[in-house]
Amino acid sequence: MLYALLVTGTLLCAGMAIRAKRLLSAALWLAGVSALVSISLYRLGAHEVAVIELSVGAGLVTVLFVFAISLAGEEAMEARAVLPKPVAWGLMIVSAILLGWMTLPLRASEGGPVEQASFATLLWQDRGLDVLVQIVLIFAGVLGVLGLLAEARVPVEMRIVERPAVQPAPPAPARPVSPPAPQPAPREVHV
């Protein structure tokens, strides 16, 4: 029953994240998806990954989204989609049927857990290459954050011309040209 509630809530949040008109709402619904997925992971016995997912997925990524939306601003999109919606629905239903046909007959193994190695041993010793890849990826992420914060120099031909909000004042009527004012005589300095 708890699993059904978690899965229903996860799917609801995911659907609302896709359907939300405002970007900020979509980011918050995505945080809800992360939180519910992390509870499901915890219930499945993956405690460490559940904590990572909750802190990274629901915390860090949400903060990044909110920061990026505050930088880029909300933008109302046209209703027209990339693909026609019936085509997208058809592809989604076909892929879901195929996946369900392949995965739903799975049964959990009987006899309890068969592994003895801990998560730390597996991660640091057996999957050492993965850790190296993660380090490289984190450097790529740092570069991505630098790109997020960088003020790029935009080429002249691609700049967006901003129209002035206030129209320029009409030219003032011509005044009669007056002779230049006489310069004041330099003051004498007595020492």
Binding site: E53, I138, G141
Partner: protein
């Protein structure tokens, strides 16, 4: 017949994959495309852990899922950075407006 927890989670995985795929096919906003990618990757993480739960290798699936989460976060960061720079340069987040190909 009562469905097992594994089957319920697999239904959730299929649903999340379907919703993410639908989002990728329909959405035109760059930041929301990253949101759809995030939903897809969450489905993949949940599927990895469910497979580990089914086979009795939860810790192995956790080590793989941790790598996937790190990669997913980096993809989100780079995608968001790209979206912000595109918005600054072109003034829009619409992927249709970015296409310069004609014909």
């Amino acid at each position: 017949m009562t469905p097992s927890p594994l089957q319920i989670v697999l239904v959730g995985v299929i649903g999340l994959l379907g919703i993410g795929l639908y989002g990728l096919l329909v959405i035109r906003n760059l930041i929301k495309i990253v949101v759809a990618l995030q939903i897809l990757v969450k489905a993949a993480v949940l599927a990895l852990v469910a497979a580990g739960y089914a086979s009795g290798h939860v810790n192995l699936s956790q080590s793989l899922a941790a790598t996937v989460i790190v990669a997913d976060t980096i993809v989100a960061v780079v995608g968001i950075a790209l979206a912000v720079q595109v918005r600054r340069r072109f003034g829009t987040l619409d992927v249709k407006a970015l296409s310069t190909l004609k014909g």
